[in-house]
Protein backbone atom coordinates (compact mmCIF):
# COMPACT_ATOMS: atom_id res chain seq x y z
CA UNK A 1 0.00 0.00 0.00
CA UNK A 2 1.26 3.45 -0.87
CA UNK A 3 1.60 6.36 1.53
CA UNK A 4 0.26 9.69 0.28
CA UNK A 5 2.49 12.62 1.13
CA UNK A 6 1.58 16.27 0.75
CA UNK A 7 3.76 19.14 -0.39
CA UNK A 8 3.22 22.75 -1.43
CA UNK A 9 4.60 22.29 -4.91
CA UNK A 10 6.69 20.06 -7.16
CA UNK A 11 9.99 21.38 -5.81
CA UNK A 12 8.95 20.86 -2.19
CA UNK A 13 7.73 17.37 -3.02
CA UNK A 14 11.06 16.46 -4.57
CA UNK A 15 12.97 17.77 -1.57
CA UNK A 16 10.66 15.80 0.73
CA UNK A 17 11.37 12.62 -1.21
CA UNK A 18 15.09 13.26 -0.97
CA UNK A 19 14.78 13.91 2.78
CA UNK A 20 12.88 10.66 3.28
CA UNK A 21 15.55 8.65 1.47
CA UNK A 22 13.09 7.67 -1.23
CA UNK A 23 15.36 8.62 -4.13
CA UNK A 24 18.67 7.32 -5.43
CA UNK A 25 20.20 10.73 -4.80
CA UNK A 26 19.21 12.10 -8.18
CA UNK A 27 16.02 14.05 -8.88
CA UNK A 28 12.97 11.90 -9.57
CA UNK A 29 9.65 12.51 -11.25
CA UNK A 30 7.28 13.18 -8.36
CA UNK A 31 4.83 10.25 -8.25
CA UNK A 32 1.57 12.15 -7.96
CA UNK A 33 -1.61 10.06 -7.68
CA UNK A 34 -2.58 11.01 -11.22
CA UNK A 35 0.76 9.93 -12.70
CA UNK A 36 0.81 6.69 -10.75
CA UNK A 37 -2.77 5.90 -11.67
CA UNK A 38 -2.02 6.33 -15.37
CA UNK A 39 1.02 4.08 -15.02
CA UNK A 40 -1.14 1.48 -13.27
CA UNK A 41 -3.65 1.66 -16.10
CA UNK A 42 -0.80 1.08 -18.54
CA UNK A 43 -0.02 -2.20 -16.79
CA UNK A 44 -3.44 -3.57 -17.67
CA UNK A 45 -3.72 -4.91 -14.14
CA UNK A 46 -5.44 -3.69 -10.97
CA UNK A 47 -3.17 -1.64 -8.76
CA UNK A 48 -3.64 -3.89 -5.76
CA UNK A 49 -2.35 -7.02 -7.50
CA UNK A 50 0.71 -8.11 -5.55
CA UNK A 51 3.80 -9.50 -7.23
CA UNK A 52 5.19 -10.53 -3.85
CA UNK A 53 7.05 -9.08 -0.92
CA UNK A 54 10.43 -7.50 -1.39
CA UNK A 55 13.21 -7.83 1.17
CA UNK A 56 14.83 -6.92 3.35
CA UNK A 57 11.88 -4.82 4.51
CA UNK A 58 9.23 -7.20 3.18
CA UNK A 59 7.38 -4.41 1.39
CA UNK A 60 4.46 -5.25 -0.85
CA UNK A 61 5.49 -5.06 -4.49
CA UNK A 62 2.05 -4.33 -5.88
CA UNK A 63 1.33 -3.03 -9.35
CA UNK A 64 0.70 0.34 -7.73
CA UNK A 65 3.91 0.54 -5.74
CA UNK A 66 5.99 -0.67 -8.67
CA UNK A 67 4.22 1.83 -10.93
CA UNK A 68 5.06 4.61 -8.48
CA UNK A 69 8.74 3.68 -8.65
CA UNK A 70 8.54 3.53 -12.44
CA UNK A 71 7.08 7.04 -12.50
CA UNK A 72 9.86 8.25 -10.19
CA UNK A 73 12.48 6.67 -12.46
CA UNK A 74 11.15 8.55 -15.49
CA UNK A 75 9.63 5.53 -17.22
CA UNK A 76 7.14 5.77 -20.00
CA UNK A 77 4.16 3.39 -19.90
CA UNK A 78 5.82 1.47 -22.72
CA UNK A 79 8.69 0.63 -20.38
CA UNK A 80 6.50 -0.81 -17.65
CA UNK A 81 6.19 -4.42 -18.90
CA UNK A 82 9.97 -4.81 -18.63
CA UNK A 83 9.98 -3.25 -15.17
CA UNK A 84 7.26 -5.66 -14.05
CA UNK A 85 9.16 -8.58 -15.54
CA UNK A 86 12.31 -7.49 -13.75
CA UNK A 87 10.47 -7.21 -10.44
CA UNK A 88 9.05 -10.71 -10.94
CA UNK A 89 12.54 -12.04 -11.59
CA UNK A 90 13.94 -10.20 -8.58
CA UNK A 91 11.21 -11.67 -6.36
CA UNK A 92 11.92 -15.21 -7.51
CA UNK A 93 13.21 -16.94 -4.36
CA UNK A 94 16.23 -18.20 -6.31
CA UNK A 95 17.40 -14.62 -6.78
CA UNK A 96 17.89 -14.17 -3.01
CA UNK A 97 17.05 -10.49 -3.23
CA UNK A 98 16.97 -9.98 0.53
CA UNK A 99 20.49 -11.29 0.92
CA UNK A 100 21.64 -9.50 -2.23
CA UNK A 101 20.35 -6.19 -0.88
CA UNK A 102 22.00 -6.70 2.48
CA UNK A 103 25.43 -8.03 1.50
CA UNK A 104 28.64 -6.10 1.96
CA UNK A 105 29.63 -7.12 -1.59
CA UNK A 106 29.28 -4.67 -4.49
CA UNK A 107 26.50 -6.38 -6.39
CA UNK A 108 23.61 -5.05 -8.44
CA UNK A 109 20.98 -6.76 -10.58
CA UNK A 110 22.20 -6.61 -14.17
CA UNK A 111 19.14 -6.65 -16.44
CA UNK A 112 19.29 -8.27 -19.91
CA UNK A 113 16.26 -7.89 -22.18
CA UNK A 114 15.54 -10.27 -25.04
CA UNK A 115 12.85 -10.58 -27.68
CA UNK A 116 10.36 -8.09 -29.12
CA UNK A 117 10.21 -6.11 -25.86
CA UNK A 118 13.60 -4.68 -26.81
CA UNK A 119 11.76 -2.61 -29.38
CA UNK A 120 8.20 -2.48 -28.04
CA UNK A 121 9.30 -1.33 -24.58
CA UNK A 122 12.07 0.92 -25.67
CA UNK A 123 13.99 0.98 -27.82
CA UNK A 124 16.31 -0.59 -25.28
CA UNK A 125 19.85 -0.02 -26.46
CA UNK A 126 22.23 -2.92 -27.05
CA UNK A 127 25.03 -1.39 -29.12
CA UNK A 128 27.54 1.42 -28.67
CA UNK A 129 27.47 2.70 -25.10
CA UNK A 130 24.46 0.61 -24.10
CA UNK A 131 25.55 0.56 -20.46
CA UNK A 132 26.30 4.26 -20.44
CA UNK A 133 24.23 7.44 -20.46
CA UNK A 134 21.95 8.64 -23.20
CA UNK A 135 19.37 5.88 -23.57
CA UNK A 136 16.12 6.70 -21.83
CA UNK A 137 14.64 3.21 -21.74
CA UNK A 138 17.84 1.61 -20.42
CA UNK A 139 18.29 4.33 -17.83
CA UNK A 140 14.66 4.49 -16.70
CA UNK A 141 13.91 0.78 -16.62
CA UNK A 142 17.03 -0.09 -14.69
CA UNK A 143 16.48 2.81 -12.35
CA UNK A 144 12.88 1.75 -11.72
CA UNK A 145 14.05 -1.60 -10.36
CA UNK A 146 16.57 0.16 -8.13
CA UNK A 147 13.90 2.53 -6.79
CA UNK A 148 11.70 -0.50 -6.08
CA UNK A 149 14.59 -2.02 -4.15
CA UNK A 150 14.93 1.21 -2.17
CA UNK A 151 11.30 2.09 -1.57
CA UNK A 152 9.61 -1.32 -1.50
CA UNK A 153 12.55 -3.45 -0.40
CA UNK A 154 13.78 -0.86 2.06
CA UNK A 155 17.43 -0.78 0.99
CA UNK A 156 19.29 2.05 2.69
CA UNK A 157 23.07 2.35 2.49
CA UNK A 158 24.76 1.51 5.76
CA UNK A 159 21.56 0.34 7.42
CA UNK A 160 19.95 -2.35 5.30
CA UNK A 161 22.13 -2.20 2.16
CA UNK A 162 25.54 -2.96 3.60
CA UNK A 163 27.58 -2.74 0.38
CA UNK A 164 30.95 -1.42 1.47
CA UNK A 165 31.23 0.75 -1.64
CA UNK A 166 28.64 -0.37 -4.17
CA UNK A 167 29.07 0.46 -7.86
CA UNK A 168 27.49 2.73 -10.41
CA UNK A 169 25.29 -0.08 -11.70
CA UNK A 170 23.31 0.38 -8.52
CA UNK A 171 21.75 3.45 -10.12
CA UNK A 172 20.66 1.68 -13.29
CA UNK A 173 21.94 -1.46 -15.02
CA UNK A 174 19.93 -2.47 -18.06
CA UNK A 175 20.64 -3.37 -21.68
CA UNK A 176 19.18 -5.49 -24.43
CA UNK A 177 20.99 -8.28 -26.21
CA UNK A 178 22.03 -7.31 -29.73
CA UNK A 179 20.22 -10.24 -31.29
CA UNK A 180 20.46 -8.82 -34.80
CA UNK A 181 24.27 -8.64 -34.80
CA UNK A 182 24.86 -11.86 -32.95
CA UNK A 183 25.93 -15.00 -34.82
CA UNK A 184 24.61 -17.02 -31.89
CA UNK A 185 21.03 -17.77 -30.94
CA UNK A 186 19.59 -15.20 -28.51
CA UNK A 187 19.92 -15.84 -24.80
CA UNK A 188 16.21 -16.42 -24.25
CA UNK A 189 16.06 -18.96 -27.09
CA UNK A 190 19.04 -20.78 -25.59
CA UNK A 191 17.10 -20.88 -22.32
CA UNK A 192 14.18 -22.58 -24.06
CA UNK A 193 11.88 -19.65 -24.77
CA UNK A 194 10.25 -19.11 -28.14
CA UNK A 195 11.99 -16.48 -30.28
CA UNK A 196 8.76 -14.47 -30.26
CA UNK A 197 8.74 -14.35 -26.46
CA UNK A 198 10.19 -11.46 -24.52
CA UNK A 199 12.21 -12.00 -21.39
CA UNK A 200 14.23 -10.17 -18.83
CA UNK A 201 17.17 -11.96 -17.23
CA UNK A 202 18.59 -10.71 -13.96
CA UNK A 203 22.04 -11.55 -12.68
CA UNK A 204 23.51 -10.00 -9.58
CA UNK A 205 26.95 -8.86 -10.72
CA UNK A 206 29.88 -6.61 -10.08
CA UNK A 207 30.44 -3.64 -12.35
CA UNK A 208 31.52 -4.55 -15.91
CA UNK A 209 35.20 -5.28 -16.51
CA UNK A 210 36.58 -4.31 -19.90
CA UNK A 211 38.28 -7.08 -21.90
CA UNK A 212 40.64 -6.07 -24.68
CA UNK A 213 41.32 -8.39 -27.59
CA UNK A 214 43.18 -7.49 -30.76
CA UNK A 215 42.14 -9.86 -33.51
CA UNK A 216 44.18 -11.13 -36.43
CA UNK A 217 42.40 -13.11 -39.12
CA UNK A 218 45.75 -14.68 -40.15
CA UNK A 219 46.47 -15.90 -36.63
CA UNK A 220 45.06 -19.37 -36.00
CA UNK A 221 45.56 -18.88 -32.27
CA UNK A 222 43.32 -15.79 -32.22
CA UNK A 223 40.15 -17.57 -30.98
CA UNK A 224 42.08 -19.22 -28.18
CA UNK A 225 43.68 -15.93 -27.21
CA UNK A 226 40.24 -14.34 -26.98
CA UNK A 227 38.74 -17.23 -25.03
CA UNK A 228 41.66 -17.21 -22.61
CA UNK A 229 41.42 -13.46 -22.07
CA UNK A 230 37.70 -13.73 -21.39
CA UNK A 231 38.15 -16.67 -19.03
CA UNK A 232 40.98 -15.16 -17.03
CA UNK A 233 39.12 -11.86 -16.82
CA UNK A 234 36.10 -13.62 -15.33
CA UNK A 235 38.39 -15.41 -12.89
CA UNK A 236 40.19 -12.26 -11.79
CA UNK A 237 41.57 -13.01 -8.36
CA UNK A 238 39.75 -10.12 -6.73
CA UNK A 239 36.36 -11.55 -7.62
CA UNK A 240 34.37 -13.79 -5.29
CA UNK A 241 34.02 -16.37 -8.05
CA UNK A 242 37.75 -17.03 -8.10
CA UNK A 243 37.66 -17.76 -4.36
CA UNK A 244 34.28 -19.49 -3.97
CA UNK A 245 34.32 -21.44 -7.23
CA UNK A 246 30.69 -20.63 -7.95
CA UNK A 247 28.13 -18.00 -8.86
CA UNK A 248 27.24 -16.76 -12.31
CA UNK A 249 29.52 -15.01 -14.77
CA UNK A 250 28.32 -12.78 -17.57
CA UNK A 251 30.10 -12.22 -20.87
CA UNK A 252 29.05 -9.43 -23.24
CA UNK A 253 30.70 -10.07 -26.60
CA UNK A 254 31.01 -7.21 -29.02
CA UNK A 255 30.05 -8.07 -32.63
CA UNK A 256 33.67 -8.43 -33.78
CA UNK A 257 34.62 -10.76 -30.97
CA UNK A 258 31.45 -12.79 -31.41
CA UNK A 259 32.31 -13.18 -35.10
CA UNK A 260 35.83 -14.41 -34.30
CA UNK A 261 34.44 -17.12 -32.07
CA UNK A 262 31.68 -18.06 -34.47
CA UNK A 263 34.13 -18.39 -37.36
CA UNK A 264 36.14 -20.72 -35.14
CA UNK A 265 33.19 -23.08 -35.18
CA UNK A 266 31.90 -22.40 -31.71
CA UNK A 267 28.23 -22.42 -30.82
CA UNK A 268 26.72 -21.25 -27.54
CA UNK A 269 27.41 -24.52 -25.76
CA UNK A 270 30.97 -25.01 -26.89
CA UNK A 271 31.66 -21.32 -26.31
CA UNK A 272 30.47 -21.56 -22.71
CA UNK A 273 32.53 -24.70 -22.17
CA UNK A 274 35.65 -23.10 -23.62
CA UNK A 275 35.36 -19.96 -21.47
CA UNK A 276 34.48 -21.98 -18.36
CA UNK A 277 37.53 -24.17 -18.82
CA UNK A 278 39.75 -21.09 -19.00
CA UNK A 279 38.05 -19.24 -16.13
CA UNK A 280 40.44 -20.69 -13.60
CA UNK A 281 43.55 -19.99 -11.56
CA UNK A 282 46.13 -22.42 -10.24
CA UNK A 283 44.84 -23.94 -7.02
CA UNK A 284 48.22 -23.21 -5.42
CA UNK A 285 47.76 -19.51 -6.17
CA UNK A 286 44.25 -19.32 -4.73
CA UNK A 287 45.29 -21.32 -1.67
CA UNK A 288 48.11 -18.84 -1.13
CA UNK A 289 45.83 -15.83 -1.54
CA UNK A 290 43.01 -17.23 0.58
CA UNK A 291 44.17 -20.09 2.78
CA UNK A 292 41.02 -19.94 4.90
CA UNK A 293 38.81 -20.94 1.96
CA UNK A 294 40.92 -22.80 -0.59
CA UNK A 295 42.79 -25.98 0.19
CA UNK A 296 46.23 -26.31 -1.42
CA UNK A 297 46.73 -28.99 -4.08
CA UNK A 298 47.36 -32.40 -2.58
CA UNK A 299 49.69 -33.35 -5.41
CA UNK A 300 50.45 -31.67 -8.71
CA UNK A 301 48.92 -28.26 -9.11
CA UNK A 302 45.47 -28.16 -10.66
CA UNK A 303 43.09 -25.50 -11.99
CA UNK A 304 40.75 -23.96 -9.43
CA UNK A 305 37.73 -23.04 -11.55
CA UNK A 306 35.81 -19.87 -10.86
CA UNK A 307 32.46 -21.42 -11.81
CA UNK A 308 30.88 -24.80 -11.16
CA UNK A 309 29.67 -25.41 -14.70
CA UNK A 310 29.51 -23.91 -18.19
CA UNK A 311 25.80 -23.54 -17.45
CA UNK A 312 26.73 -20.84 -14.94
CA UNK A 313 27.93 -18.51 -17.69
CA UNK A 314 25.49 -16.07 -19.29
CA UNK A 315 26.77 -15.01 -22.71
CA UNK A 316 25.17 -12.27 -24.77
CA UNK A 317 26.08 -10.10 -27.73
CA UNK A 318 26.22 -6.37 -27.25
CA UNK A 319 28.25 -3.21 -27.49
CA UNK A 320 29.82 -1.51 -30.44
CA UNK A 321 32.31 -2.85 -32.96
CA UNK A 322 35.92 -2.66 -31.76
CA UNK A 323 38.49 -4.08 -29.38
CA UNK A 324 36.47 -4.36 -26.18
CA UNK A 325 34.05 -6.86 -24.78
CA UNK A 326 32.92 -7.01 -21.15
CA UNK A 327 32.80 -9.57 -18.41
CA UNK A 328 30.89 -9.29 -15.17
CA UNK A 329 32.01 -11.45 -12.26
CA UNK A 330 29.54 -11.86 -9.47
CA UNK A 331 28.84 -12.43 -5.81
CA UNK A 332 28.64 -16.22 -5.68
CA UNK A 333 26.94 -16.14 -2.30
CA UNK A 334 23.43 -16.29 -0.86
CA UNK A 335 21.39 -19.45 -0.27
CA UNK A 336 21.15 -20.14 -4.01
CA UNK A 337 24.68 -18.98 -4.83
CA UNK A 338 23.77 -16.13 -7.15
CA UNK A 339 22.04 -17.74 -10.17
CA UNK A 340 20.67 -15.92 -13.22
CA UNK A 341 16.88 -15.70 -13.11
CA UNK A 342 14.73 -15.11 -16.18
CA UNK A 343 11.12 -13.88 -16.26
CA UNK A 344 8.75 -13.41 -19.16
CA UNK A 345 7.91 -9.85 -20.18
CA UNK A 346 4.18 -9.85 -20.70
CA UNK A 347 3.40 -7.56 -23.60
CA UNK A 348 -0.22 -8.68 -23.92
CA UNK A 349 -1.43 -7.04 -20.69
CA UNK A 350 -0.04 -3.62 -21.39
CA UNK A 351 -2.36 -0.78 -22.42
CA UNK A 352 -1.40 2.19 -24.54
CA UNK A 353 -2.00 5.51 -22.82
CA UNK A 354 -2.32 8.22 -25.48
CA UNK A 355 -0.60 11.43 -24.54
CA UNK A 356 0.92 9.98 -21.40
CA UNK A 357 4.45 11.08 -22.11
CA UNK A 358 3.42 14.69 -22.63
CA UNK A 359 1.32 14.85 -19.51
CA UNK A 360 3.63 12.94 -17.21
Amino acid sequence: MSVLLEAADEYAALERLHDLGCTDGLPVVVPTPDRVERMVVASGLPGDVSLGTMGPNHGNASIETVAACAVMAGCLPDHLPVVLGAVRAALDPRFDLTELQATTHAIAPFMIVNGPARHACGPIASGFGALGPGFRANASIGRALRLCMINIGGARAGVSDMALLGHSGKFTFCMAEDEESSPFEPLHVALGYDPSASTVTLVGTEAPHSVIFVGDADDPTAPDRLLTTLGLSLATVGANNAHFGGGTGVVVLNPDHAAVLHRAGLDRRSLAEAIWERAANPRSLMARLNPSMVRPPSGADEPFRAFRSPDDLVIIAGGGSGLYSMVLPSWAAGPHANPAVTAVVDLDQACEIPGFAGSA
Partner: protein, 77 residues
Amino acid sequence: MRDGVNLARRDVPAVALVSSEFWAQGEFIARSVGMPDIPRVCFEHPVAGAGVAVMRRVAAAIRDDIVASLAARGVAS
Protein backbone atom coordinates in the same frame (compact mmCIF):
# COMPACT_ATOMS: atom_id res chain seq x y z
CA MET B 1 21.13 -11.54 12.49
CA ARG B 2 18.89 -13.57 10.22
CA ASP B 3 20.37 -16.75 11.62
CA GLY B 4 19.23 -15.62 15.06
CA VAL B 5 15.78 -14.83 13.67
CA ASN B 6 15.49 -18.20 11.96
CA LEU B 7 16.59 -20.08 15.07
CA ALA B 8 14.18 -18.13 17.26
CA ARG B 9 11.34 -18.97 14.90
CA ARG B 10 12.17 -22.61 15.49
CA ASP B 11 12.12 -22.03 19.25
CA VAL B 12 15.84 -22.67 19.44
CA PRO B 13 17.44 -20.49 22.13
CA ALA B 14 19.74 -18.09 20.32
CA VAL B 15 21.50 -14.79 20.68
CA ALA B 16 22.57 -12.95 17.54
CA LEU B 17 26.10 -11.58 17.78
CA VAL B 18 26.21 -8.33 15.85
CA SER B 19 29.27 -6.17 15.34
CA SER B 20 29.00 -2.47 16.05
CA GLU B 21 29.19 -1.53 12.36
CA PHE B 22 26.22 -3.78 11.65
CA TRP B 23 24.16 -2.89 14.71
CA ALA B 24 21.89 -0.55 12.75
CA GLN B 25 21.30 -3.26 10.17
CA GLY B 26 20.45 -5.67 12.96
CA GLU B 27 17.90 -3.25 14.31
CA PHE B 28 16.45 -2.85 10.83
CA ILE B 29 16.14 -6.60 10.32
CA ALA B 30 14.62 -7.13 13.75
CA ARG B 31 11.94 -4.57 13.00
CA SER B 32 11.36 -5.72 9.44
CA VAL B 33 10.70 -9.32 10.49
CA GLY B 34 8.39 -8.20 13.29
CA MET B 35 10.71 -9.37 16.08
CA PRO B 36 12.08 -6.12 17.50
CA ASP B 37 13.13 -7.81 20.76
CA ILE B 38 15.10 -10.63 19.19
CA PRO B 39 18.09 -11.21 21.52
CA ARG B 40 21.31 -9.68 20.28
CA VAL B 41 24.64 -8.66 21.68
CA CYS B 42 26.94 -6.04 20.23
CA PHE B 43 30.67 -6.58 19.89
CA GLU B 44 33.48 -4.47 18.51
CA HIS B 45 34.11 -4.27 14.78
CA PRO B 46 35.96 -5.72 12.96
CA VAL B 47 36.79 -9.23 14.03
CA ALA B 48 37.14 -10.84 10.61
CA GLY B 49 40.80 -11.68 10.19
CA ALA B 50 41.69 -10.06 13.49
CA GLY B 51 43.46 -13.12 14.83
CA VAL B 52 42.97 -15.45 17.77
CA ALA B 53 44.06 -13.03 20.47
CA VAL B 54 41.49 -10.42 19.45
CA MET B 55 38.79 -13.06 19.11
CA ARG B 56 39.50 -14.28 22.64
CA ARG B 57 39.34 -10.75 24.01
CA VAL B 58 36.08 -10.00 22.21
CA ALA B 59 34.60 -13.31 23.35
CA ALA B 60 35.54 -12.58 26.94
CA ALA B 61 34.03 -9.13 26.70
CA ILE B 62 30.62 -10.34 25.57
CA ARG B 63 30.49 -13.73 27.33
CA ASP B 64 28.50 -12.44 30.31
CA ASP B 65 26.07 -10.57 28.05
CA ILE B 66 25.41 -13.73 26.05
CA VAL B 67 24.81 -15.78 29.18
CA ALA B 68 22.59 -13.07 30.65
CA SER B 69 20.54 -12.90 27.47
CA LEU B 70 19.99 -16.63 27.46
CA ALA B 71 19.34 -16.71 31.22
CA ALA B 72 16.68 -14.06 30.81
CA ARG B 73 14.87 -16.58 28.64
CA GLY B 74 15.35 -19.38 31.12
CA VAL B 75 18.01 -21.16 29.09
CA ALA B 76 21.19 -20.62 31.07
CA SER B 77 21.94 -20.14 34.72
